[in-house]
């Protein structure tokens, strides 16, 4: 079911149904694609001599995956991503870890002056790993279309 602006009420919690195991392919491909030069994300040999002993997943990938896992429930009808705030990487994520996402709706404010009827929705997202530890948190503001007139929720 598509989520329009009217469907979001502050205080609503959502546990998103899918997880994603962050494979080496995901992290290394996306890091290299975006030109992240830090080889702590893609050099297993040098990473073996750090305190973690293995490559860490890039925060830009963690952020995109947690937002991605939450996207169908929060942004399927979004017109634009507006902002991220208080993005925090609480624990390292490694190849083979599985990410899950949980969201709370913080605020929903209509916006009047746009070409398309829409409102801003602010979410708090948590990213959890396979043992339930919080590895990531952020707030995210999205411009979401209002429900077209004549359609049913």
């Amino acid at each position: 079911m598509a989520a329009y602006f009217e469907d979001f009420s502050p205080g609503t919690m959502m546990r998103h149904p899918r997880g994603k195991t962050v494979s080496e392919l995901d992290n290394v491909l996306l890091c290299n694609l975006m030109l992240n030069t830090a080889d702590g994300h893609f050099n297993a040999d040098s990473a073996s001599r750090t305190s973690f002993g293995r490559p860490m997943v890039f925060g830009g990938v963690i952020t995109a995956l947690v937002v991605g896992l939450a996207s169908e429930d929060t942004a399927e009808e979004a017109l634009a991503e507006l902002a991220l705030d208080s993005v925090r990487f609480r624990r390292p994520v490694f190849h083979g870890d599985t990410l899950y996402a949980v969201t709370e709706v913080l605020e929903a404010s209509p916006r009047g002056e746009l070409a398309q009827p829409a409102g801003e929705v602010r979410f708090h997202h948590w990213g959890l790993n396979q043992t339930g530890e919080i590895v990531f948190e952020c707030e995210r503001t999205v411009l979401v279309a209002k429900r077209p007139t004549g359609t049913q929720p």
Binding site: D26, T37, E81, L82, A83, F89
Partner: protein, 167 residues
């Protein structure tokens, strides 16, 4: 074909001078500006690959008809791709020698980009201070701004990383 030097032993290669990359905690002065290298022309392929791999199920980024219905001529680039690329372009100057990426604040997506647009990035040092909770370590934060090929501001954010005080 020219023969390689006969005395190129692994031992000798290990002693070739190492090219250094990245900066350490003491290199950062508040107010210092880094114009980051390269820039990146982001393509529709980048966008679809990134959006699919990160399970970003907003069809705005991968269905041209949806994009048109939502008032765009074609699919805009996924803002998370723009953010990750802007951070990545800044890594060699800012954080390649750091211990950990702590977080981002005030990320603002100010202007959409489309396939074929070129992103460049610039950062300003905001703060470099010893960590109050981690002896021997320090936190550096920067303001990073991303621009398109016309020099228009596309996004901005603050980033903080953890460093060893003595590299």
């Amino acid at each position: 074909m020219r023969e390689p030097p006969v005395d190129a032993t692994p031992e000798k290669l290990r002693h070739a001078p190492l090219t250094r990359r990245g900066h350490s905690f003491s290199d950062f002065q508040v107010g210092q500006v880094y114009e980051h290298h390269w820039g990146r022309t982001l393509t529709e392929t980048d966008n679809v690959l990134f959006t699919s791999l990160t399970l970003h199920f907003n069809p705005l980024y991968f269905n041209a008809e949806t994009a048109r219905r939502r008032g765009q001529d074609r699919c805009p680039l996924n803002p998370l791709l723009i953010l990750g690329t802007a951070v990545s372009l800044s890594v060699e100057d800012l954080s390649e020698a750091s211990e950990a990426f702590l977080g981002l604040d005030d990320v603002r997506f100010l202007k959409p980009l489309y396939g074929g647009d070129t992103l460049s990035a610039r950062s300003t040092v905001l703060e470099a201070r010893p960590s109050s909770s981690r002896p021997g370590q320090g936190v550096v934060s920067w303001l990073t701004e991303g621009f398109d090929q016309r020099g228009e501001l596309v996004l901005s954010f603050r980033r903080a990383n953890l460093f060893q005080l003595e590299p």
